[in-house]
């Protein structure tokens, strides 16, 4: 099964594989413009109080993405494999799944 940004938890590191091909052109372009490009590493920094949107660190800056868009971003986990350039060290992060509880909204 494909893994997307939607499936990641706080503290996960991942590499972007692709943006879903049936994404509308304007959404895809927006994501590309903000640096969601193939092969780019990212770190899941946190989720908003209700589990959505998700905040990621990407290309050295912080980006908030709604789960509806996060679902379109296919990723692969790279936990522990490589250091993110410019991202802050992950340190002792508690890994939680907020999202589950709030998915009824």
């Amino acid at each position: 099964m494909k893994k997307t940004l939607f499936d990641l938890t706080t503290g996960d590191k991942a590499r972007i594989i692709n943006i879903d091909s049936d994404t509308p052109a304007c959404v895809r372009m927006r994501l590309l413009d903000m640096g969601i490009t193939k092969g780019a590493p990212l770190l899941v920094e946190r989720h908003a109080p209700l589990g959505d949107p998700v905040e990621i660190v990407l290309k050295g800056y912080h980006l908030a993405i709604r789960m509806s868009e996060a679902r379109r971003i296919e990723v692969e986990l790279i936990n522990g494999e490589e250091e993110l350039p410019t991202a802050c060290p992950a340190g002792k992060r508690r890994r939680r799944r907020w999202r589950r509880g709030a998915s009824f909204l």
Partner: protein
Amino acid sequence: MSNNKIVIAGNPNAGKTSVYNRLTGAAQQVSNYPGVTVEYKSGAMRYDGGRLTVVDLPGAYSLTAFTQEELVARNFIVERKPALIVDVVDASNLERNLYLTTQILEMGRPTIIALNMVDAAERRGYQVDIAQLSRLLGVPVIPTVASRGSGIKELRDTCIAVVEGRLDATPTPVRYGHAVDEEVGALIKQIQRHPALSDMGAPAWLAVKLIEKDSAVLAQAQDAAQDAMQALAPHIADATRRIETHFDADTATIVAEHRYGIAAGVVKACVSFTAQARRDRTDQIDKIVCNRLIGPVILVGVVAALFFWVFKLSDEWAWIPWIGGWRSPTGLIAWLFDMLSQFLAPLEARAPMLYSLLDAGVVGGVGGVLNFVPLIFFMFLFVSALEDSGYIARVAFILDRPLRVFGLQGKSILAFIVAGGIGAGGCAVPGIMATRTMREDKDRLLTMLVTPFMNCGAKMPVYAMLIAAFFPGDRILIMMILWAFSWVTALCAAWVLRKTIVRGPQTPFVMELPPYHLPVLRGVLRHTWERTWLYIKKAGTIILAINILLWAFMYFPRPPEGMDETHALAHSMAGRAGKTLEPVSAAAGFDWKTNIALIGGFAAKEVVVGALGTAYALEGQSEENYLSLSERLAAHPDWNPVRAFALMIFVMLYAPCFVTITVIRRESGSWKWAAFSTVYSTTLAFVLAVIIYQAGMFLLPHI
């Protein structure tokens, strides 16, 4: 010099406006780009040899033009062909900023890069090799810290040198790698054969845009050079197809990824990490501010403080020393207009009509406009400080999910709160202006349309009068019901509008959470003053005109001699309209006298109390006397609690006062939405009032 325009372009949060403020003097102009609500500022930069016009373009992440800001920025560069582009690049966020830079360089205009916030980059442990960066991009690079003004002199001097032709700042062509470059090169040759096309902008830029299948550029090219485009179409299609087969992706994606590839390459070549990037201040603050439990509490605190201080400083707290004691800014303005009114008083006996026009129409109208000025000023002061600091982005982050259920977004909350969403007081005028922090047009429009449902300060005298008359024991309960009613109506209306009228393609919500900055006082004050002045200037003229119209509506035609105030009002156009509407409004329990008051309420909702007072023949119609009116209404055989409650709901929801309508027109960019707002809220208010009245009257005998 034929062309003396410098444009400042760059990412949002890169410090573009700081650079602009540092380069230009105090005098400036805010212009609307034709057809869209996006504004840009222009000012003058003077130097020994002359004067340059500096234009601050809206912040953009890209020039692919999916948002209005981007389209405005791009069209400005393409159409006005500025002598120089100053690209403000955030050194602490180099890679993403360079993505825009590649697009700017591609446009082929002379460019200077202002490498801003180099101090923040150093704090985060990066060192940028300026000379190397300049060599790679082919344009001058000036390191700056615009918020402190360092590097600005060098930037000025370089700008002047480029404009005067002493320094070459033409960028080196952007290279996308062999496979793409070959197609671009071939297409450039084709474009150069058609003068109509090569006038549209740099051929290299146009070629890339055509390959990217940029819909806006394609449409423009079709308009400008239909024949040329017809000739070119097969070439473009071939080039696109070849690239797409080569990379197995669509061209727009390929070009974007290559641009990021270039940006990454430049970063690799120019940036050295001098220290291990440590967790900086922003991360530490966000750990608390965006925390799942503490975050919302802080948010409520910040928003409540915003609300408290805006009204405290502008209205409640008398802190300005003045003749006859301390006054609040609003109080001071009221005092000035009182004085003016007293000055006019001798006219009353000699020329009653002129007096009435000047006093009620002109002084009342201008006073009504200026009354809002302190509120707007302080609201903008705090909101722009919050925005500059980076906190507004966190508000949007925390509240996005709950508000999206209703088709709104996190930032909508600011408008609601300022418009009176919590507790008593508030005003829809600054509330609607607070929607400026939203970049998504649809969300913004939706917020503007439902913000007037909040219980603003002007509705309070109406509530107070009716509660005192009919619910003296349940004051707090009724206020709570009204408060909840306004929120539920606003959210439900937003939900329905989103599903019907404000429908459209979903705007992707992909938002940067910029690092926290201490707001620069100078910049915040300047921004605040610009906005306030714009309000005084633009709204003032329209509001004055409408107020005179309303005055005439309640003044003409004059009754025969010897008629008292009540009958004069009944005789006026407003009175006649009130009577004409009575058969309809009776369904909600409103008689013609109430109708007159509600018509007057278009001017400002607190007028309802005064007008009801006049209609029910009272001495002294100001809202301070509401108790006497309350007693009269409580004793009146036509009135009962159900009717009073229906009236309160109607006043809460019906057409926003015309100052609000004018502001909606300004902020939405068209009278269409202002008119829509008036019609739909009045309809909604009437339907709900009828339901409440009819149901209440049916149930009343059974309770």
